[in-house]
Each structure stands twice: as structure tokens, then as C-alpha cells.
């Protein structure tokens, strides 16, 4: 992503911060709903925010982890957890959940793109790169739900989420193989993922159920 203009870099950073905060908040809300204690709420927030990227780095054998290089993100999420516990009340839950849908969708697109990008840099096959993108974007939420003793939302709410990420990941792979600039592919991946996710929420698309 060498040729990205400065305003693009700033925009990317903003999306990353907004996306991480949205992921963390989804964990905090779920922890609060499950009546976890203060420690549990923080852990679930951290898992939701950093779980997917950590799993990607673990599978791709990349060290140091991204949150070791950017330890200020850990402090940020910790602050967010404390602030949420001080100021967030039950009547804010539904509002917050609606408010984080857009940063969540944008963050999903960005995290998927980084997972695909890292895998392609390591010359992994296209399908593997797509799977790594999905893992980066989706498995934070999966870990969050597993620890909260729920079936992962991404797998049974019948609303397209991983599927939008899947489409966005293939867009990134395609543009990469066409030799497009890294930041164009990134922008396209985020746009497709977040756009499809937005459409799915707006038109209330449903994933097909099992025809049993």
C-alpha cells in the first residue's frame, strides 16, 4: 500500500479506529447483556476487538502482533471499556447497537482487506487469502460469542455478514492479480464489503435457511 496519498492514510487510520471501537463495543454490549462482571466485560470487549487479527497473525506466523506494535490501541480499548461501564445504561443499548452498524461494516471491510493483503504478500493461494480475510474480520465476533456461551451470531442470524466480507475479499484478490495499486484495491474491498452489508441491512436480505 505504498502509493496511498496522505489523506488516504489518514482516512484508513480513522476507519481502523472507528472499526476497532465498534467491534469492542459489540463485545461490551454482549458482556453486559450476559450480566458478566467488570473483568468479563473488558475481556469480551478485547476479544471482539483484537481476536480476529490475533488469530490471523497466529495462523500466518506474523510477530509481533499488531497490538504489540500499536500498544496505544490496547490502552484505547481499555479506556473505552471503563467509559462504557461508567456511562452506558441499559436504555442506551439499542441506540448504541444501531450507531455502531456503520463503523462496524467499514471496519469489517478494512480488517478483511488487511487479512487478504498479508496473505497475498506471503504468496498464499487465493482461496487461503480469502479465508484469512474472513477470519480477520469475523472471528473476533465468533470468539466473543463463544466465550459468552452463544452460537456465533455471524453463523445463525441469517443476515449476510461473512458473505459480504467474502465478496469484498474476492474483489481485493482480483484487483491484486490485475496489478492494481494497493490502496485502490483496499478502497474497493471496503466499499464492496460495507456497501453489501449496508444493502443487506437496509433491504433486510435473508440468507437461505437449510431446506430440511
Amino acid at each position: 500500500m505504498q502509493q496511498m496519498p496522505l489523506w488516504g492514510e489518514t482516512l484508513r487510520l480513522l476507519v481502523e479506529i472507528a472499526g476497532t471501537a465498534a467491534f469492542a463495543l459489540s463485545g461490551i454490549l454482549e458482556g453486559a447483556r450476559k450480566r458478566l462482571d467488570a473483568v468479563g466485560v473488558c475481556v469480551v470487549g478485547f476479544l471482539a476487538a483484537f481476536g480476529g487479527g490475533t488469530l490471523r497473525d497466529l495462523l500466518l506466523d506474523q510477530r509481533p502482533f499488531f497490538w504489540v506494535r500499536h500498544v496505544e490501541m490496547l490502552w484505547g480499548v481499555l479506556a473505552l471499556c471503563v467509559l462504557a461501564m461508567l456511562f452506558l445504561r441499559q436504555r442506551h443499548f439499542a441506540v448504541t447497537e444501531r450507531a455502531i452498524q456503520w463503523p462496524d461494516a467499514l471496519g469489517l471491510g478494512l480488517f478483511v482487506a488487511t487479512g487478504v493483503h498479508q496473505s497475498l504478500m506471503l504468496e498464499l493461494p487465493a482461496l487461503v487469502a480469502v479465508l484469512m480475510g474472513l477470519i480477520t474480520g469475523v472471528f473476533g465476533g465468533v470468539l466473543r460469542d463463544v466465550v459468552c456461551n452463544e452460537i456465533p451470531t455471524a453463523f445463525h442470524d441469517h443476515r449476510p455478514y461473512a458473505l459480504c466480507a467474502f465478496a469484498g475479499a474476492w474483489v481485493y484478490v482480483g484487483l491484486w492479480h490485475l496489478g492494481t495499486d494497493g490502496w485502490v484495491a483496499l478502497a474497493a474491498c471496503v466499499t464492496v464489503t460495507a456497501g453489501l452489508r449496508g444493502l443487506a441491512l437496509w433491504r433486510n436480505w435473508q440468507l437461505p435457511a437449510w431446506k430440511a
Copy 2:
């Protein structure tokens, strides 16, 4: 496993394909039973098929993962998931479950043997090699059940599964230390594991419950 004859190599490949398909189908069936959406069914199928081997490679620090070297296995399981969703109906579930018992038992034996083999090549102690074999064979199913929010079947259905794998793994370790050819040890491990598993199913052996 250098001295394996060609027909042995072909046989091994057939068992690997059959075993992977059986593991994936066990995940697909469980996902369908839990009424997951299309994405969830695929993910659980993938976890059941590749989870154990991935965990082994992660613990042994072996890269690239086996499914990166054999990316056609990923495509195969993806195709299997789509086909299952198109053609498998509820009335087929019980039949399918009985039909996959044998390939599942053979696959279990093979996956255990590969886990033990890799560990012994890395000169790990015997007990560690046996545990790695168990993890390879059993933890795909464990991940499948954890994501589906169930206590892992292997741990509470009181029917010997991991125990057959345990016996097979020790057979492999024993023959290895006697200096037997790799493919003889492999065949013995698969025979013992699958044979014990078959006996256990046929005679309806029960693991002792906790004498509380």
C-alpha cells in the same frame, strides 16, 4: 514413510479424502441440526474437517499448513458443503450419519498417525506425540461442538472414540521405536484405531461413568 509402495500411497490418499469428507459431513449435519445459516454450516464443516490438523500444525509450529500445500482440499470441502445444502434433506440425516461411521473411523486412525508421526520426526517425547495425535484426530470435532454451543460429543457420549485413538497412537509410537517401516506403523495404527472403534460401536461398549 519413504518405502510405502505405490498402491499403499493411493490407498492412503483414498482414506485421507474419505476421512476428511466424513469429518466435514459431521460438521455440516451438526450445523444443519442447530439451524445455522448457509455461512454457519460451511464454517462448521470446515472446522470439523481442518480444525484438528490446523491445531496440530499450530502447536508444532509447522508452516505452511497442510491445507495451504493442498488447497484443492479446501475447494473440495467447499464443494461438499454446497452440494450438501442443495441435496441433503432431514430424512437423509440418520442414513448419512451411519454411512460416515466407517470413513470417520478410518480417517481418525490416519489423522492420529500423521500427528504422531510429525511429532516423532521433531523428536518430541512419546507422551507428547500421543497427545498431538489425539489433538489431530479429535479436536476438529471438539471445535465443531464448541462453536455449536454443545459439550463436545467425544467427551460425554460415553462411547470410546478418543480412547481408540489413544491406543492406536501408542501402537504407532511403539512400532516407531522398534524401527518398523513408516507405512507398516501407519497401517497398524489405522487398523487398531478403526478396529477398536468398530468393535466399540458394534458391541456398544460404554466408557465408565464417574462413580459419584
Copy 3:
């Protein structure tokens, strides 16, 4: 921890053995309560005893794992599982649970200290070292509860556990940066963690609930 006197080394080993046994017993008891079969009880015991340290080594990319270097610990826990299944009856459960509270608290302190120590040796930032300490001490229990299909006790019983470890970990980091001898920092970390945990149990401290 080079300058530790011999009696200190012996004490450390005793705490490590007692702590590992307490962790394993917590897993065995939970497995027995959930009516797992013999295999399941053993696996949950192993996860509780070795899960946290393994996750630490995986995240810090340290091989061989500590239980590969000390394979006698695996044999010890295996023996403990078998003995527990033979001799532990339901009426012993409550007694055992009370009896393991102290070794558990001491073990928690020791495991946290080793996680922090390893991270500081790798020159990781202070917050990351603290998190690694927490993961070492707490995530064995988390894995135990996740496999048993429970919300992790450490996250929702409203009794300080991870928080005591958090305090102990910061003590270790602080003393390290002051240049204190390794074994003094270790002793302080164990004392603070186990002391706070003991106080919390004795005075029945409660973590604040979510003010919903």
C-alpha cells in the same frame, strides 16, 4: 531469576506443582459435575492445568512448550486424573474445592509472574506483559469452562480473580523496571496476587455489577 537461592528454587517448584495440581483438580471437578465420561474428565483437567501456559507460549512464539521440556508434568496430571476418578466421590467435591483455594491462589500468582517475566525478557511493552501474565494465569480456567459449555467463572462470578492477578502483574512489571532481583519480584507478585485473592475470599469482596 538467576540469583534465586536454592531454598527459593525448591519453594518455587513446590508452588508450581501445587498450583498445577489445583488447576487440574478444578477441571476434573467441573468435568465430573457435567457428567463427562473418563476421557472428557481427563481432557478438561489437562486444559485447566496446561491451557493458559500453552496459550502464552503460542502467543509469544516460544517452543518447545513448557510441558514438552517437563513431560513429567503431563504424566503427573494424567496420574492425578486417574486417581481422582478412582477415589473422589461426590461428597468430597465441596471439601476438595475449599482445599484447593489456597494452592490455586498461589499457583495463579506464580503463573502470572512467569507470563509477565517471559514477556519482559522479549522486551514487550508493559501492558502487553501484564496481559500475557493474565492469559497465563486465567485462560486455563477459561478454556475449561468453554469446553464444559459454561460462561467462564472468572468473568461472571463477581469475585475478584483476574483482578488480583492484574494487580500482581503490575507489581512484577514495576519491580522489574526498578531493577529488582527476579526472585524478589516473583515473590512480591505471588504474595500480592495470592494475598488479594485470599482477602477477597475472606471478606467476600464483590466486583461491581454493570449499573444497567
